[in-house]
Symmetry: C2
Subunit: 605 residues, 2 copies
């Protein structure tokens, strides 16, 4: 087992062996922006899925709704370019709000982001598999296993530590961007696309569409904006001049994503594309633009791949966030420890388990996740931008008013969007997020309070008293007289002159006498206590004996369990049953030192 | 968890609290013969399933084949009445062949019986669920979950220990016997049964049926004879005079089972019943005899119940057999230990896991299991009877020749049957058994050889040398200075004056200096070794340090890991990460005593 695991995740790494990435804007797009870019695979779909409820005539609203979303995207891009300026060390919403808005706001940001990182993983993988099953419908019945398989691969890669591998993302990202832009261009240039089946004229008559529906479509489509913050979090990864490169990447992301969203909206509107259950909207647009040929299939597989890589973005973000929360005592310390591949394994595994649970719960269906999605990220956006306003006000660099206004508008716009999400998506599933975020915050607060109390109880920061030694009595459970017993008694006598061997005899007084006689004959320098019992288990009498000893004497008690270590580990199952039961029973005893003394067993002949 | 488990399986029991059953023949039928009696639910079905392959005209062969099986049943009953006489202490095939034929034969018997006990559980449960889904076809798609649910209930009941509950089997057993005999009587008395749909005349023309087909039908039908040995195994359970009561029960079983099998065969023949996929043959006969009324449904449920109870027979047999094998060093010792409900929990759980795997593998389909079934039991029959011949020849009581002849004929008949099984069922699945039994025997032999060598290496039976104590050095891994550190250093100093505290600093030389200064200022009476590392894990440097210490010094090394024990156990997850990694790494180290020193953590305010 251990060696298989080692093979999968690789040998331990020194801190300096971990590549410090030095990336340029195109690499920045592939390493930090895939989450945002790939949202074209589900964002337009989410808008149309809302609009279609009001009838086919409402579908043309996809264009104005998309324009609104792209305007918001522009706002966010400019806001985050300023975050990059202000926090070149990496300005996650948690760090920015902690520095400027205080611990309460930072906890809200932390909880929101954990929820959305998990959703990003689930949504990206589900959408990726959706792209695959749209192109290859036969795979449709294996949706959940394929989702979990991709998740497992991503998790393993992250447990290895991605290192140089992140650069391998560049090629599929570029194929994806170039391919999709080319497809959109073909679609826009040919009024009648090659793959398009002839459709009837648009439905006539007036159509009443409520404002609520438009807001719903808007909030569903805003799922396309998640991930635009990732570049600002990853500024330290860029090649110097860092902030310049990062800001350039952010702008590049904004332009490409905006063009893609608008292009898709125009084509979906022109070709009157409606959501279908077995083919995604993106897949329909592609099929209409270029036909279902080799290029269509190659692009479908590329989309699956980049969506899987987009899920990877969260694996970059959430474990780091969890480690920051753990360092601030909001999560168990374990999350702040790197494992021997220098990655935060606990965070990675926790994220994988939560995402797997989500994927199984919704059966790999992207649209079930969309109502839950984006609320957390937009809460983070709002807190981050609001924090930036405070930051500018506090530091007052040149043109601080101008900068504060940009971030202020960003904060307001994202706050309004968050409120729209809450209202329009509440009954469709957002209530889960509304419950989850405060639950996480409560967890943070309780863990924080516990650590503070435990720290006081442990006297952290104060110099403790001088350690006082006291007499020790060693209890050695034995099953008979053998070299193992000799070995264990010898170790016990090395620890203390006071040693008591104990053995349990089940319903057999004659055996008890025999044992005592044999022991006296051997005379190992420690008395044997034979415990008789009518119960079948040997653990109970030994635990009782140890407890009575603890109550009646003042010495420190050490229970020394003899354990055979055969050369081949699999033979251990043939010995050591006493160890198993006693260790289980005494493991949580608060006042006893439980020790296991191993004896290597070498077989001859 | 522990308390839920306790609730399910009950409090620990003293040996004398476990009811020593004192049963009479009717109770004997319910406790020991359900496996045999309930085989009417699949035996005739198995015969017809073979015959139908040769066409509807071959179905009338069910009668002669059943007569042959009933003759073999009579032989077995007389043979086992003699086993009861000779082994009133319970004469399982393993014990009889071990005493008379030697260890090699006993291993064959043990392996064969383990295979067949497992199959009995799977076949009985699958047939029980088959009876249920025949009556209630809507349940058909839940076959496997229902099978596993019944298996789980039986397993839990056996982990509790059945005790008095076995007597509760009496009522359903009597309802089953009386009900089925009544149904057969009704069917035999009315030439045109009420529930029988009119069928066409029998097909004309000559029919060539090969001898192989008849033998196949015979061997499939012999699955009805498994379980006739159980009474002889359970003689000590009977009320005195034990052997008289047990022999009477064996005879009763033979008569009832013989009548049921013949009755079913006559009716199946008369009504030309053919196997169907959604209704068992037994269910068809019942429906034809009395119609599909409340009595039919009540009887169907009763059959499910007694089949589930029949699976229970194996849970009585296999764990005891495993404990005997373990006592003879053929299986891990664990199987010979009773748990605190006085049951052989390891054997029960192992049997349940194997049966569950089988049920899942065949999707709860009884007919897939039949070809595998009965080979093991008939191997056991043969060895047991052959052993009896040797027994009579050795002991030579009055009329020993007469007795030896009866057992000899039994041995020959069952040996022939076993060979027929092997030939006719080999390609249909029996090869699995042919592989499984030698594999088990190889396992027995290897375990036995290992225990013998381990016993020699441990010097079992010899008086070992006098234990020699030697100096000890205690290594205490710490993370900083706190009351926990004080506590652990105090315990370490109680064990030995030689104590070394070690701590790991990851990539932070300044912190290393600080720690040394703080430690010197505290001056706890033991030096601190600060281990610096570029790896992220703290375990590796500590393991390396301990190994170097072991290589360079002659003292016994104890690694004493400080562990916090918060009042509420769930808070443990917030501490003790060092414990986790170090314990995992050092646990299997052959030369180091690993001890954990707990400190109760009480929080104030």
């Amino acid at each position: 087992m251990t060696s298989i695991w080692r093979f999968l995740i690789g040998p331990p790494l020194r801190a300096r062996e971990v590549a410090k990435e030095q990336i340029n804007p195109p690499e920045g797009l592939s390493a930090l922006s895939l989450d945002a870019l790939t949202s074209v695979a589900y964002g337009p779909e989410a808008i149309l899925a809302v609009l279609v409820v009001a009838g086919a005539g409402a579908l043309h609203l996809v264009l104005p709704v998309t324009v609104a979303i792209v305007v918001l995207l522009g706002l966010l891009v400019f806001s985050y370019r300023q975050v990059i300026d202000a926090y070149p060390g990496g300005g996650g919403a948690y760090a920015v709000s902690r520095a400027n808005l205080g611990p309460a706001a930072s906890r809200v940001a932390g909880a929101s982001l954990i929820v959305d990182y998990t959703l990003t993983v689930a949504v990206s993988i589900a959408a990726g598999v959706g792209a695959l099953t749209s192109a290859f419908p036969a795979l449709g019945s294996f949706t959940v296993p394929i989702c979990l398989g991709i998740l497992a691969v991503i998790t393993l890669l992250n447990l290895r530590g991605l290192g140089e591998a992140a650069r391998a993302f560049l090629l599929p990202t570029m194929v994806f961007i170039a391919g999709l832009l080319a497809i959109l261009a073909i679609g826009l240039l040919h009024p009648l696309a090659p793959g398009l089946a002839r459709r009837g004229p648009p439905p006539h008559g007036t159509l009443t569409v409520g404002a609520l529906l438009v807001l719903k479509a808007f909030s569903a489509g805003c799922s396309a904006l998640t991930g635009v913050e990732a570049i600002a979090n990853g500024v330290p990864l860029f090649r110097p001049p860092r902030t310049v490169q990062a800001k350039r990447t952010e702008m590049l992301l904004g332009v490409i994503l905006g063009v893609m969203l608008l292009g898709l909206a125009v084509l979906a509107d022109r070709w009157r594309i409606a959501p279908r259950s077995h083919q995604t909207v993106l897949s329909q647009v592609m099929a209409a633009a270029i036909g279902q040929n080799w290029a269509f299939y190659a692009m479908s597989i590329t989309i699956t791949l980049v969506l899987a890589l987009a899920a990877n973005t969260s694996f970059g973000g959430m474990p780091v966030l969890a480690s920051l929360l753990a360092r601030d005592s909001y999560l168990p310390r374990l999350f702040s420890l790197r494992d021997d591949r220098q990655v935060f394994a606990s965070g990675i595994v926790t994220l994988a388990i939560m995402a797997a649970a989500l994927l199984v719960a919704v059966q790999g269906n992207t649209l079930s996740l969309i109502p839950l999605y984006a609320i957390g990220v937009f809460t983070g956006f709002t807190l981050s931008q609001a924090g930036m306003v405070v930051h500018w006000w506090r530091t007052r660099p040149t043109r601080w008013r101008h900068r504060a206004i940009i971030n202020g508008v960003g904060a307001c716009a994202t706050a309004v969007a968050t409120i729209i999400f809450l209202i329009t998506k509440f009954t469709a599933g957002a209530w889960i997020v509304v419950l989850a975020i405060p639950s996480l915050i409560t967890l943070f607060v309780r863990i924080h309070r516990y650590y503070q109390r435990a720290g006081r109880a442990l006297g952290l920061g104060a110099v403790p008293g001088r350690p006082q030694s006291r007499p020790t009595v060693v209890v050695v459970p034995v099953t008979g007289i053998s070299r193992l017993t000799e070995h264990a008694i010898a170790q016990a006598l090395s620890i203390s002159p006071q040693v008591i061997a104990v053995t349990v005899v089940i319903n057999d007084p004659r055996r008890a006498h025999e044992l005592q006689d044999e022991w006296r004959h051997w005379n190992p320098g420690a008395p044997l206590r034979v415990l008789q019992t009518e119960f079948a288990s040997a653990a109970r009498p030994i635990v009782k004996f140890v407890n009575e000893l603890y109550d009646s004497r003042d010495e420190q008690i050490i229970v020394l369990i003899p354990v055979l270590r055969p050369e081949k580990l699999r033979y251990s199952a043939l010995h050591n049953h006493l160890d198993l039961v006693i260790t289980t029973e005494l493991r949580n005893h608060p006042n006893i030192i439980l020790a296991r003394v191993p004896m290597p067993l070498t077989l001859h002949g």
